[in-house]
Structure formats: C-alpha cells, structure tokens
C-alpha cells in the first residue's frame, strides 16, 4: 500500500454511511452488510464466525461469510495485518511505520497471538508482541504488508513483507512462538509489488502480490498478480519466465464490473475443492466508491490461479459435469411442431435421390414421398431405425429444401406447461433442448443469509414459481411454490476447476452437508460431495 495515499484510505474507513441494501437487480454484488475495509487480512474462521482485520486497527466479523459488520478488535494500529491459525493460537502480524507515510520507509513488522479472535470471549487477548522484521528507511525495503505461510510440506512458518519501495522479502518464524528464527536472514524474492501472500499447491509455492496504484479510489489501478517457484525461497517466475525479482507477475484479478482496484489477496480454503480468496476493492462504485471487502472463487488452470466470479443471477441450463445432461422437470416431453420442408439436399437442385411420388424407384433413401409403396413409417420423413420422429406430410429429409427460410419460434412456457401436474414434481437429467422445463431462473434471496462470498439463491423454472427443493430422504424435487424455506435455498460455490457445487441450505431430516449430485447419468439426488468425482459438479450455461 502506497503510504502517500494511506491517509485518504483511512479517512474513508473511518467515515461511516448507511449500509447499502442488497439489490437483487445487481449481478454478483460485493459482500452484504458493512464490508468496509482496506488491506484486509486473510479471512479466518474462528469459533463459528469469520474475521478479517484491516489497516488502522479493528476489523470485520461475519456469521456466514456473506453479511459483514464491524467489531473485530486488533490492537496496535498500523497497517495491513494478516492472521494464521496454528495449534491453539491465532497469530496476528501487522506493521507500524514505513509505507511512505510522512516520507519515511522505516518500519517494524510485529507478531502477536491470541487464543481466539472473538473479542467477547474470555480467552481473547493478545500476547507476546514481538518485532520479526524491520526496515531502516534507507535500505531497499519497506517492512509493511506482512503475510504468513505455514508450509504444509515442512511445517515451517514463513513471512513475506514489503512494498514498492525496494524488495519483497521472506523471513522464517518459529511456528511455536511466532518469533523470528534465530539467525535467519531475509531473502529478496520480488520487486515492484506489495500486499503479498504465499500459497502452496501441488508442489509449487505461489507468490501473490499487488501491482498498480493504491489508494486512489475509482482511479486506482491495483491488480493482483502471481509468480511461482518450486522452493519457498524462490526464484518466483511468472507464466512467461520473468522473475518476480525483475517485476514479473501473471494477472490473477483486475478491475471488473463496478469494482476497481482489487488488492491484498488472502486464501480462504473451504475444503472439498472449494477455494476462495479475500481481497479489497479500492472502490466499489455502487457504494460511493468506498473500499470494500470481497470474497471470490479462486480457480486454477494449468497450474496458475485466477479469479472466478461470484454467481450472477439469471436464467440458465444447469448441466451435469458427469453426463452433460440438463436438470429438468420430470414431465412429458412436448414436441415442437415439425416444420421441416425438405432436408439435406442442395437448395434449388433436383430432389437428390429422393423417391418420386408414385414410385418406389431406386434412389429412394428410405424416406419416400406420399403415394409410394413405402410403408407409413418410412413415408413419415424420418428414419424410424434411428428413432427419428415422423415429419409432416410431404417432407423428405433428403430432398432439397423448399419454401422461404424463416425463424422458428422457441417453444413457449404456456404451450409446454399446459399439462404439467400441479403438485410437487420429480426432477431428472435429460438431453438439453432449451425447453421450458429445462430453464432455471436463479435469483438471490434477500435476507436469507449466505456463505463466504455470496447469498443463498432460489432456483425456479423460468417464468414460474416452481422451485428446486431438497426433499426428505435426501432426494431433490421441484415444489409448486417457492416459500423461502431453507430446503429451497441453494448455495452455489464455484470450484477450483470452474464447475460449480450446488448445495441446499438444509435437507429435511438430515444435518449432513449434502449437495446436488448426479448419482446416475439421468438421475439427480443429494449426496455428500466427493471432490474426486464429477458427480457433484455442475455448469451453468446460458440457454
């Protein structure tokens, strides 16, 4: 964070305005409530709540990861904290001094610990604050923006820190105390970066950091970038081979929608293949350009992380990753009227090989015209052996097309639904034909709570109030009317491969965290999510 503009950012945080209400018409909003923060620490779960701390002291709390309020407590002031949970301790690090404030780059990085992040708990209280890194104001480093990594392969605890003034550096801490390992020397791992974070995945260490201009509201160019290394100590190289020590970094997330200047990456691993990341936007244009917290899906492609988008309301096909079939109401398929006039032949040409009326001449491709000796099914214009449908009188799929070319209207809901039973219906998976019983409108439900990054949604057949619902015995149905019950509220998490996991808020008679699952090619159910299987993975496609 560039200290020259920090004062403005802090002032923006201090100013409090009425929280904007969640607006259903706005796609993928940033978090609900009062998510106002700058330089948020990694979102951390503690005793049933989510916490994040920001610059200037204090922080945010959320019961569900969707609706946030102020109230977290962090002493010491300073800037850009981070948190890590090791054993029965929550270590908190932050920096005081430096950052260009008052023209200086002399700074200290502190670490302290508490048994809980809940300020109302008797166990709350910070201990053993100690300096783990410094910058003297002259050297090529400004010791701010610290971030932890507990290496899962070695159990060693690392801390990166620094800003655009010189190097990003790495030091080693003792995971038992949070203090600097005696004799450890700082290692330079990057330049031209700030607000770093380290992540380990599949044999790679990833250094994520923020490029661009901080703290300039809607004009901030903050964006998050990444380089990776086989060793925690580097070298960290980007996707085109440029060392982070030479300014390299592959883009992870930049401005989009109404959000400007994402920065301060923090990994939130929810398990089962669901990874999210916290960040702040320098400006949320729907919230007076304030700096806000957001939580977004973290996706991976070819060994590189990139940002997903929280789910946008809309009307979709819900496609099973397992079978490619679409979720649909279990109702009778309603045929569209056959409108074919001719078929595959060349326009304007002779009826290539088609049986001529009144004949059964050689050249008839099994789909003779009326008046031939061809039996009824063969005359129907479709190949019955392929399970084809009979066409209209006079059609011939192998004849040259005739008549004007006109658009064919899609089947409308009224036509398709006239014989749908009124009560609860089963759902299943079938070939997607963009028919009304296969189009689902997915809408956030205001006031129903949420989960990290997003609100609960209702999933209804487009144009109707028929809602997807969890049923007893962990099956899934479509109820005739959406009532807002928890079995009709759905959590939609994007998985690291870009597919989605769809989970009801609750399942009648069960406390299991079941998700929508293709238990067979054509049969959906609710079952425990298996991250190694495609059964619980879904795609949302525009119909």
């Amino acid at each position: 964070m560039k200290r020259s503009l920090l004062a403005a950012a802090v002032a923006a945080l201090v100013a409090v305005a009425p929280a904007p209400l969640f607006a259903q018409s706005r796609p993928a909003p940033a978090l609900d409530g009062e998510p106002y923060i700058h330089d948020p620490s990694t979102v951390t779960f503690c005793d049933g709540k989510f916490y994040t701390f920001g610059t200037g002291g204090g922080g945010l709390i959320s019961d569900d990861g969707w609706t946030w309020r102020s109230g977290a407590v962090r002493p010491g002031g300073g800037v850009a904290p981070d948190v890590i949970h090791i054993g029965n301790r929550y270590y908190v690090t932050y920096a005081r001094g430096g950052g260009g404030m008052s023209g200086g780059h002399a700074s200290n990085v502190y670490v302290m610990w508490t048994k809980t992040l809940d300020p109302n708990s008797p166990d709350f209280g910070f201990h053993d604050e100690t300096v783990v890194a410094t910058s003297d104001g002259i050297e090529d480093c400004d010791a701010i923006d610290p971030a932890f990594l507990l290496d899962p392969t070695t159990g060693r605890l690392w801390l990166s820190y620094g800003t655009f003034f010189g190097y990003i550096r790495l030091v080693e801490l003792d995971p038992r105390t949070g203090k600097r390992v005696v004799g450890n020397k700082a290692i330079n791992i990057a330049i031209d970066m700030e607000a770093t974070a380290l992540v380990y995945r599949d044999g790679w260490y990833y250094l994520l950091g923020t490029h661009g201009t901080c703290c300039d509201g809607a004009n901030s160019t903050y964006n998050i970038r990444v380089a990776r290394s086989r060793k925690v100590t580097g070298p960290y190289i980007d996707n085109v081979g440029i060392d982070a020590l030479k300014g390299g970094g592959k883009l992870v997330v930049a401005a989009s929608g109404r959000f400007v200047g994402p920065g301060h990456f923090g990994l939130l691993d929810l398990g089962d293949g669901v990874q999210k990341f916290s960040c702040h936007y320098e400006a949320d244009l729907d919230r007076s350009g304030r700096s806000v917290l957001d939580i977004r899906p973290l996706l991976w492609k070819d060994g590189w992380p990139y940002a997903g988008d929280n789910f946008r309301e809309g009307t979709y096909e819900i496609q099973s990753e397992r079978s490619g079939y679409a979720l649909e109401l279990a109702v009778d398929f309603v045929r569209m009227p056959s409108m074919r006039r001719g078929g595959f032949g060349a326009p304007g040409g002779p009826p290539s090989g088609a049986g001529a009326p009144g004949t059964n001449a050689p050249g008839a491709r099994g789909a003779g015209a009326p008046g031939t000796a061809t039996p009824p099914a063969a005359a129907a214009g479709a190949n019955p052996q392929r399970g084809g449908a009979p066409g209209g009188p006079g059609t011939n799929m192998f004849a040259a097309p005739t008549g004007p070319v006109t658009p064919v209207p899609a089947q409308d809901l009224a036509e398709a639904s006239k014989d749908w039973p009124a009560g609860t219906l089963g759902v299943r998976l079938g070939d997607f034909m963009f028919r009304p019983h296969q189009k689902w409108t997915i809408t956030p439900v205001a006031g129903a709570g949420g989960y990290p990054g997003a609100p609960y949604f209702k999933i209804t057949i487009a144009g109707t109030n028929r809602a997807l619902a969890a049923a007893a015995d962990a099956e899934v149905v479509a109820v005739p009317t959406f009532t807002g019950g928890p079995e009709q509220l759905w959590r939609i998490d994007q998985l690291t491969d870009g597919t989605y996991r769809i989970m009801p808020k609750s399942v009648p008679g069960s406390t299991e965290p079941f998700v929508l699952t293709a238990v067979a090619h054509s049969t959906p159910t609710l079952a425990k999510f298996d991250p190694k299987s495609d059964n619980g993975r879904w795609n949302f496609k525009l119909p």
Binding site: V331, A364, G366, N383, A474, A520, H521
Partner: protein
C-alpha cells in the same frame, strides 16, 4: 434407442443408395410393425444385407444360456444376469419418440396377462396376449446387458414394436438399506422392487449402465422380486440392472435364484 451414430448413419445412407430395394424392404418390415411370430417379422434390418439368409436356423445362443438350478451371483460389477423373460408382446410403434412418461406409465399399467405385476413364473409357463401364446424363459445372459432383441430374434419372435416383461429374484443375505436400483435400457422401461415402483426410464433412450437409478431402497433379507418392462419401437432392445450402494459401489454379495428354473 439411438442405435446409429453419425458415421453409421452415413454408412446406412450409402448402403441405401447402393442397394435401395434392400433398404426399403428392411425398413418396410420395421415400419409395418411386428407380425406375430414367423421368421420374416423378426428379421433384423441388417441380416439380409450382411448375407445371412432369413431362413437360417435361429437360436438365442450365444447371448443366452438356460438358467440352472444353482444360485448365481451377479457379475463382478453387480449386474443381474439371470432373468425370466417373456416372449415379446406386440405393441406397434413406428418411432420411439412417443415414449413420454405418461405414455410409458400407461403402457405398463395396461394389463396384458393375469398376474402381470405379481407372478414369479416358472420357465416354460405361458400367457396369452391378444390371442398369442407367449412363453417365459429362464435364462442367463452372457453379457452384462440382457439383449432382448437377440432373445426375440433367436426365438423367431417380433423384434420391433414390442414390450418385454422380465422378472428375477434376488436373495440377499441381510437387509441392505440405502441401495439403489441402477438401470439402463433401450428404449423406455419401468422397474419395480417387491411390487413398488423403483425407477422409470422414459424417452427414446439408449442403453447406458447406471443411466437412471431409483431413490434409496431397502433390499430385504431373503427374497426380493425385481420386475421390469421394456418397450421399444424400431431398434435393438436391451437392458442392464444392478444394485449400488450409497457410494455407487456395486452390490455383489447377493444371489439370483429362479425357483423353477429346472423346468426349463
């Protein structure tokens, strides 16, 4: 019942161009619906083209062998390969796109013979449907799927526009809860466990293992009667059935035993 993919369909078209009369004859038979009995009505559309004379002796081998009195386990993947199959009931349909849920339910709710939903027949028992005497056959399928078309063809019975009824008895050494009946069929089908509907497969359906599964069921300790009906218009008919557990693993520690199979 999507028996011809694009390439095969193109090949079929080429064949039709080269030998139009043969193709038309084959389709004519298919389109006319099944005549009752007789070799001609049961001829598969490719038989003559492949050079097999229509009057060649027919057999259900190697697709089926007579079921023995020795209880049989499912195969390693849990597929049930021992069945009592009824010779096909004529149900002319020139296309399979008619097999909506309502159509299929109505077709199988129609009583074709007494005890249709309750009987566990003996091999060789016969029923009369629309004046046609149809026999039950206790067979073991040589493959994971039960090739109904080959069953009908081998018996000189209609192959297109038909309904097949199938029954088997699963003996379970213990009560098995939260299992699912997993079915694939060509074309539509409906299945019952101990008299209760388990799973419906509607539409112009090709056979895929585990295409549709039932809700969670309980296999009772001892005898469990599985009953199914498969309907098809033109094309190859077959089905496969197995039970899977909550994790999708096949149930293999059960046995299939048709009480009167020795009468075959």
């Amino acid at each position: 019942m999507k028996t011809l993919c694009g390439i095969r369909f193109l090949a079929f078209c080429l064949l039709a161009v080269c030998a139009p009369q043969v193709s038309v004859v084959a389709q004519s038979r298919a389109a006319q619906g099944p005549a009752q009995g007789g070799a001609q009505s049961g001829a598969p559309p490719g038989a003559t083209r492949a050079g097999v004379p229509d009057n060649a002796p027919r057999t259900i081998a190697p697709y089926f062998t007579p079921a023995s009195r020795v209880p049989r386990a499912p195969d390693i993947e849990g597929f049930l390969q021992r069945w009592l199959l009824l010779e096909p009931i004529a149900k002319p349909n020139r296309t399979n796109i008619v097999f909506t849920d309502s159509y299929v339910r109505n077709a199988f709710a129609t009583e074709y013979f007494p005890g249709q939903m309750t009987v566990v027949p003996r091999s060789g028992d016969t029923v009369t449907v629309d004046g046609q005497k149809l026999a039950w056959h206790a067979v073991d399928s040589s493959t994971f799927n039960v090739k109904l078309f080959r069953f009908a063809y081998g018996l000189n019975k209609p192959t297109y526009g038909v309904i097949f009824w199938a029954v088997t008895v699963v003996n379970s050494p213990r009560e098995l809860k939260d299992v699912r009946m997993a079915v694939g069929s060509n074309s539509a089908s409906m299945w019952w466990l101990n008299g209760k509907e388990a799973v419906l497969l509607s539409g112009d359906r090709r056979m895929v293992m585990d295409d549709c599964v039932s809700p969670r069921l309980t296999l009772t300790k001892g005898r469990n009667v599985i009953r199914g009906a498969v309907i098809n218009g033109p094309g190859l008919s077959d089905f496969c059935v197995r039970f899977v557990d909550e994790r999708g693993k096949p149930i293999t520690d059960v046995t299939l035993h048709l009480d009167q199979a020795e009468n075959q």
